[in-house]
Amino acid sequence: MKVFFLSRHLREKLLLIALLALGAAIWLTGIARRGRTLWLEWRATATVLATQQQWLNNRADIETAAIRAIAHLDPARTFSSPRLLGELSTIADQIGVRSNTSSEILGTERTSQFAVNTVQFAIRNADLASVLSFYDEIDRRAPYLGIEQFSLTVNPGNPAQLNVMLRVSSVEIVR
């Protein structure tokens, strides 16, 4: 190789060096770029795996805690999404604000043993006593029902009337 190189004319030597240098520069630049991407992906994957490993290491404790969390609950008193909506409507009916309500199922988070269902429930143009009654009824059903978010607005047209927006969740034990 050395003989071949040294036997070339100067311009050919320079051309060969330039080609090699260019090729090496392009190749190494590409490798540096891909290497950086690989390194970032590597770190991200390592973080994900480490996090996953922590969850897996704590699996037994979490399952024990989950069983303990529902141990004191009566499955018959838990609420599925439709039953939750029905229960809220029943309460609204009992306190006389049924016609001013609207509701929407927001979603369900489920495991093989239990689920938590969430709905949004609105009461419009209700007086404070009705709102408090509604709240008390829900509170009485704790921990099977619970309020996650509560928003109370005074009706601009009639300050004695209130609009309530609730996000209510319910526990459902899967039998």
Partner: protein, 380 residues
Amino acid sequence: MSVLQKFKPSGPVAKKVVLLPDHAFFVRVMPLPPETLPAGIPAQVELALEGLSPFPVVQLCYGYFYPPGAGRVLVYAAYRRHFTVDDAAQWADADAVLPAFAAWLGLAPAAPTALLVTGADFVTALGWDGHDAVPAVVATRPVAPETPPGERAALQEKLVAQLQHLPPPVAVTAPAGTSSREGDEGLEFTDGKLTSRLTTAQLDTLDVRDKAELAARRRDRARNLHLWRTFLGCAAALGLAAVLQLGLKGGRLWLDHRAALAAAQAPAVQDIETKHNLANHIEELSTRRLMPVRMLEIVNEKRPRTIQFLRVTTKGLYVLEIEGQTNATPDVFNYQAALKELPACALVELGQTVDRGGITRFTLTVTFKPEALRPAAPPT
């Protein structure tokens, strides 16, 4: 295609050496004063040649042999016009041009040694005394090829007689060329068991060509060395790139494996995470429920009559955001101060406050202490 053929690497090519007849040169061995520095040798040689030769140095083809540490220098020179223009043309692409006997100077024997070098039309006697790498005796005689053997023998005896106190000479033939190949360092000459090696630095002084031309060749050689090293550096960079590429490939495979592992574990982990979140959620429903009415009761205790609530919204379990209005602006600040005094409140922040038409609208964010909102124990 022929252009490509030109770039096709060929096998190792022998170096080209032009070995001139010894009898064309006059040869002198000159002792050097002990204090002579190697850098002063070329000047000493030129000075000696000016004294020895009837011709100016510029009209001579000369060279010398001085290995570092030697106590003498071997100088040889020939009148330039002894060589034709055609001869000089042949020297242009040669790696070295030197008298035939100089090929054996690389022997530098440690013990006294004598050589009788026989060429086509000359015989040369070389003798080393074993104390110096430079021969003590160099004598040459022209011998015509048609000289009868008897005369040739007599001539050789005369030469051998000059090798006093030296062992009988070893007969060698003047080499026709070198066994060295392009790319090898220096030159090597062999005859039977004898091998003479001359370094590039030694060849620079042994070469009889024009010194300016040789200097230019040395510059070319140095430049070529730099270019070759740069070429090797680039090739090494490409090699490194290839290794890194393989490393990246391996890394990618390993990463894919880890990503596949993460994907395979994801459903199980998701299930555990969901269980954890839901268990916490259920726990919160029992022990840390949102208590908006209790929050309202607390903030209502200190509410001035001039302040009206327009909207209250919970943010998480312990934060209540109040939007209100009043026609007495100082009451907003008084109310904030009063809430801060309450043991149930951890933090009271006054947000946007807008005064328009005598009515001040404001936002208060109240953060309660968890113990102030602890629900009663769940029914069993």
